[in-house]
Point group: C2
């Protein structure tokens, strides 16, 4: 850029750098909350195949909260069972165990596999719909410099982050991902069988701008630009940790084989030839992960990738699978990489520039965690930035991004370390073989790993968004009212641990008798939710308790009345949902205080706020109170954060503590 | 058209006249089977709101077989409960009963409501996808004449039906549906809230052709052009029956009301003011059906519709609902009509021109049957025409369209007659009031009506597609082997009555342990399916029986080898699916004869053909044999027609009878 050139300048609330799953998740929040946003990516096209493919239960719950889990669920391969194969005394592999891939009862979803290109397509469609096509990925755009004006970072009306962008020419924007020496494309530009993307989405480059620069002033920048993150380097942050000497080869093929478990998720240990992971995919594809034994790192510690080809990877797989035969004609994608296990020193700068996904953590592919943890990073971050940018939440909530997510990244690396040994190690020959890994040990590790890998064991530490005592995560069910940091009563809802995601059980709509998984009502709108477990409202004393709570909630100085108003699509910062435990047919909507089913002069009463824990005709319902650990007579009150994590639990009488929770995180002021 | 004008002529396999749900269902079959097809509609745009809205279980099963039930299921309102309201001794209405809207256990779906415009949208998207955009609705096109060359109707290579078409100008194609005297539009040109249609789908008129004519020579014509069908008149067929004196008003509103069951399906009888039906809909809408008392037909028997307005309809509803209050601001659509109960004399001419939907039957809206029965007409017809046009099936199967569907139309009218009395009648004041209708009687009629209305009680009569004895429909479970007309053993699969749709229970995929509702595997591809209940294949004698069956199936002179080859997308006329009853973990795919999981040299073994009736981790499975009434040791063989109706049941040894079934309906010849 020369000085004489006219460089356009503009302001934007949020600038997202990188349009992979983490960046798209952030953009999705902004679309749903109505925050002015730009998202750029240096690549000229979206991807079509290969790359990450495993979707964990929690990621599907999140997709569902935005409204597109059904698309992934329908197209994907469902992984139901893990088969463990090991050598017998004769050295020949045989199936030694079967375990369920997803722990039964943990979530209404199960783990599925679908290639990253489709997942990005679902995000793009959803962002388009909810932003009215105002948020579009700008491809072929490269950030060149990033500056934070430290004098302005406290001023919420300012745009303290300045980023220079350059619009690439076509040649510059075409990535070179073909690994030399290979005859098979790595698939980046090849459509993945039947699903087509709209041409104009593929290359959304602004051709008239090619080769020019521009300056963007942003309130917030989110760097989701991968393991070699430009944003991270611009901030001068480092990834701590080290590369392992594990080299993994990956092949996406349609296998022709007599191996009976080729459509199961398998881990196959061989005596001499290493370990193979089999991940069945959509459209007849199967992904093979092979830890390559035959590639030795050079003096610099890096393996020479030119020695790796689809053939060398496939030959390694063939040896492991022997005596079963395997072959293929169609290969959709392949790659090879050396695993680093690293976490960034910091996740944000001045709570104005944030890093997420591979930019702050790298690890092995064994548990299929990369894409999931990355999307969960920005699912945690997005609503916080959106609510602060809209003046609804206090800027102080932004510090919880690093405190909540850096811990997860570290847990992930620890998990990866522990898990690696089981893959890299040689199976024990017998019980006396101390260096080998016993298969009992392996199975146990796998089962524990599955809970972590589901994404459902996440338990956030105390903060102004999580009202519990320090250390309470470890003893989830103790009451914390005595602690200075908390004003919460975990014991009233033992099945809803504070700091964990709101578990889902089926309830029935009071007004139309339709059963719902309650989580379906905790949509990602940006709203906090007060879930009123109203108890048995046919009991007059209990009804009085409910009425008193509702009166406090509706008082002019209640947080519910003094929280900031918002603009569409985020209509109100807080929604109230009710689950009562009386019989549905003995109660009517009109029996409940109006604040629980608000009246709109144009459209009447709201029929979608009050639910009942009762039996229904077609589905197994009526166990929500029991599963949530809530007393059916007396109920309780629970706060769900906009990301479905439990923030507070209290009695119907604990309105002051509830007020205190929202004073801690929302901007409150008496309205004129 | 003047003689001097050049009139273009062309051939097409199938010409569909009318692009409502019945016409689109026919086009959908043609898209899935790969049959050259044109579909025309005289209207210039698709509809956006109003009209039919109830989708019965069977319609959803059909949508699912094409791949789009999920879209309807997600957007629609789910109707769970019917509330019956009646006057008490004081004349004030009260809830007298609740019954489930859909009979529990009947189908994996339940009744839903969603406006016709969305349903047409799902069809259009599906037709576009499966026809590779070759089948498009041509709007603003009017048929002007239809001739059948009787000398050519027996020649399968001929195009004996000649239709002259005229491409309308914009003015001609814009319907006048506004009812005079009304201030509210009837909604034909108003978008229904949030869902948008692509602009170019709205008006697919070929502008350059406006005002010109063309001549189309078709193998088959399907007239789906409504109650005033041009096609029916062109054939000279009549509707037999008569108009009732029932005038119904319909309003789609967002109600503002304290009536507690406004989100339930309700029938409200008042003492003096008639009957109101409440049908809750998507997007906060509620449809009110009111039988209007105050409009008297004129001398011609027709009511003067100019006396009817939204206000007059709404005032009638208000009176019935009193003492509850109801009001509205938003009305999406309204109409009023006089009900005729009529069935056409014939459903086809020379088995070359067929009529379907409202063109051959009209009736009241009370059971929400119109759109459903109409779509089921062409669901029955479409595959028959497609398979005959492709040279796969014998032309003689086409006569079953009239024999199967005319009976349903007559049943529908009978049902409507019986049901009408309960709506038009006055509630009995007490047990001595013989002219009034007792509420017990009403409830009983409603429950019986629900089974009919679900679409799942359909039981087709014997034909070359339904192998059972005449009269067997009434005694479903008798064996018919002694009958000259049948060669079938119903007793081997008591839960799969021959002539009824293949009921669905959950099974587990042998290769990847994924549970499926078995019906999900009976997709509408145009294929007949042989469902092999393989029994306990771990028992050597049973395995031998299976192997013998498979050997007969694979023999060069078996129907399976001599049926006509087909072109994509209909790859083969017959698919074989297997459900065995041994334990999944004790069996492998490779234990089964290859014909049950065919090998493809490019993609390996087929992993999607063999299922097991066994328990699974996450879902309730393992009861399929029991529910289908099949012996778990010995199994049996069942034929499902391309439309999922059961055509034949026999033993593994009854290969000759199976051969005879297919000889009756398919074109067979030894291959060179």
């Amino acid at each position: 850029m020369t000085i004489s050139e006219h460089v356009p300048e503009s302001n934007v609330d949020v600038l997202i750098i990188g349009a992979g799953p983490a960046g798209l998740m952030a953009a999705c929040w902004m679309a749903h909350c109505g925050v002015t946003t730009r998202i750029i990516d240096k690549r000229g096209t979206k991807i079509f195949s290969g790359q990450a493919d495993g979707l964990q239960c929690r990621s599907l719950e999140i997709f569902d909260s935005f409204g597109f889990a059904d698309r992934a669920w329908k197209e994907a391969n469902h992984m139901i069972e893990i088969c463990l194969w090991n050598p017998g005394p004769d050295g020949i592999i045989r199936r030694s165990d079967r375990i369920p891939d997803t722990i039964v009862g943990l979530s209404r979803f199960q783990q599925i596999t679908l290639h990253q290109g489709r997942i990005e397509r679902f995000f793009l469609d959803n962002i388009k719909k909810y932003s009215n096509d105002t948020i579009k990925v700008e491809r072929g755009v490269l950030p060149e410099s990033l500056e934070i004006d430290e004098t302005e970072v406290e001023d919420q009306s300012s745009y303290p982050v300045t980023v220079k962008l350059r619009h690439l020419t076509d040649e510059e924007a075409t990535p070179q991902q073909q690994i030399s020496g290979s005859k098979i494309s790595d698939g980046l530009f090849r459509s993945n069988l039947t699903h087509t993307d709209d041409e104009d989405d593929l290359i959304r480059k602004n051709k008239s701008r090619a080769g020019t620069g521009e300056i963007v002033h942003a309130k917030y920048v989110i760097g989701c630009d991968g393991a070699r993150s430009w944003t991270r380097r611009a901030l001068g942050f480092e990834l701590l940790g080290e590369a392992t000497d594990s080299i993994w080869g990956v092949l996406d093929i349609i296998p022709i084989t007599d191996f009976p478990d080729i459509r199961m998720r398998c881990t196959i240990h061989s005596t001499e030839n290493g370990t193979l992971m089999v991940i069945p995919r959509e459209d007849k594809l199967v992904r093979l992960y092979i830890q390559l034994k035959e590639v030795t790192p050079d003096a610099s510690g890096r393996a020479d990738r030119s020695k790796i080809s689809p053939d060398s990877i496939f030959n390694a797989a063939k040896k492991i699978l022997s005596p079963y035969k395997i072959d293929y004609e169609y290969c959709a994608w392949w790659t090879a990489y050396q695993i680093g296990q690293r976490v960034a020193t910091r996740f944000d700068s001045h709570e104005r520039v944030f890093l997420a996904g591979d930019a702050v953590h790298t690890h092995s592919p064994k548990a299929g965690q990369g894409m999931n943890i990355s999307m969960n990073d920005t699912y945690n971050l997005g609503w916080k930035i959106a609510l602060v940018a809209k003046g609804i939440a206090k800027p102080s909530i932004l510090s919880t991004y690093q405190s909540e997510r850096r811990k997860i990244a570290q847990d992930l690396i620890d998990f990866d370390h522990r898990f690696s040994r089981f893959f890299s190690g040689r199976p024990a020959k017998d019980i006396m073989d101390a260096e080998g890994i016993s298969m009992g040990e392996f199975k146990e590790a796998f089962e524990k790993g599955n809970l972590f890998a589901s994404g459902l064991s996440v338990n956030y530490e105390p903060s102004n968004l999580v009202s519990k005592a320090v250390g309470e995560s470890k003893e989830v069910l103790s009451d914390a009212t005595s602690s200075a940091n908390a004003f919460t009563k975990q014991s009233l809802a033992k099945g809803l641990p504070i700091g964990m995601r709101f578990n889902s059980f089926k309830v029935v709509n009071q007004s139309d008798a339709r059963p719902w998984h309650f989580q379906e009502k905790l949509r990602s709108t940006g709203q906090f939710r007060i879930v009123v477990f109203a108890g048995n409202i046919l009991s007059p004393p209990q009804k009085k308790r409910l009425e008193d709570f509702c009166e406090a909630l509706g008082a002019p100085d209640s947080f519910f009345r003094t929280s900031a108003t918002s603009s569409p699509p985020l209509d109100a910062p807080i929604e109230v949902l009710t689950i009562h435990s009386a019989e549905r047919v003995e109660t009517n909507l009109m029996d409940f205080p109006e604040i629980l089913h608000p009246y709109n002069p144009h459209t009447g009463w709201d029929y979608d706020k009050i639910f009942v824990d009762d039996v229904s005709y077609h589905e197994d319902t009526g166990k929500a109170y029991e599963n949530y650990g809530v007393d059916k007579e007396r109920g309780c009150v629970v706060v769900a954060r906009p990301d479905q994590y439990v923030g507070w639990v209290g009695d119907l009488e604990d309105f002051k503590d509830l007020q205190r929770y929202f004073e801690g995180c929302l901007m409150l002021s008496l309205r004129a």
